[in-house]
Symmetry: C2
Subunit: 110 residues, 2 copies
DNA sequence: GGCATATTCAACCGATTGGTTGATGATTTG
DNA sequence: CAAATCATCAACCAATCGGTTGAATATGCC
């Protein structure tokens, strides 16, 4: 159980992986399309997706030769519960979240 | 700004560091006392505390020869906002949090 | 069949991580 | 002053990370 937290937080610690998650918020995507905005090899993105998948943050389903990536937000619940215990933060604040996305993804938010 | 998220999530990815944060929830502690429950050298704990401090998750104040460590829960706010955007999780759930602490700290919850 | 496309695998690389040990610097105490 | 205590520093180590490249494996299309 705390092993899950290890892999979830470790997965979230990389900005490329957080950007990928933000992209998948909008829609499911194929691996090649996920890789397109990044200045990085396809193999590197494939590894990042593997890390996100093994943390449970996304699922991957192969249809034909295309592997579709889908956000699995439930995997964040345990981590979210853990964090909220430290601060009694205000409840869900989507406006603040949008502001963060805008800062984190300059150029990616089409 | 997203650099902050890098260091906060990376700091949270280690179970020793999460256990330290949970200990500091109860009270401020000296470095030696933080180290006591762990089967690990004092130098290792000192490094962990340095990582937590540079992520802003704790502050350290030296009084005499003792360095006191204090939880800084505000540093989690940005990360919490980021995460909550993915799931619209239910608001603060302290019961679930207590259950997590009990699982994460077998033997540490005196 | 043959070629292009989608994705992963395998080997490699330099940098970072999480730990150790021994020495060192402050500070308190006797 | 001398000895003990609190904490960090410095050097080292094996393991992991984030990236690369080139080859391999499916799958789809003409």
């Amino acid at each position: 159980m705390s092993r899950d937290l290890d892999s979830v937080f470790a997965a979230l610690a990389d900005p490329t992986r957080r950007a990928i998650l933000a992209m998948l918020l909008e829609d499911d995507m194929a691996v090649t399309d996920v890789a397109e905005p990044f200045e990085m090899s396809l193999a590197a993105i494939s590894k990042h997706l593997g890390i996100l998948a093994s943390a449970g943050l996304i699922s991957q389903e192969k249809r034909g030769r295309v592997k579709w990536c889908k956000l699995e937000p439930d995997a964040l619940r345990a981590a979210s519960v853990w964090m909220q215990g430290f601060g009694q933060f205000e409840p869900v604040n989507l406006e603040a979240f949008e502001a963060f996305l805008a800062q984190e993804l300059p150029g990616l938010n089409s």
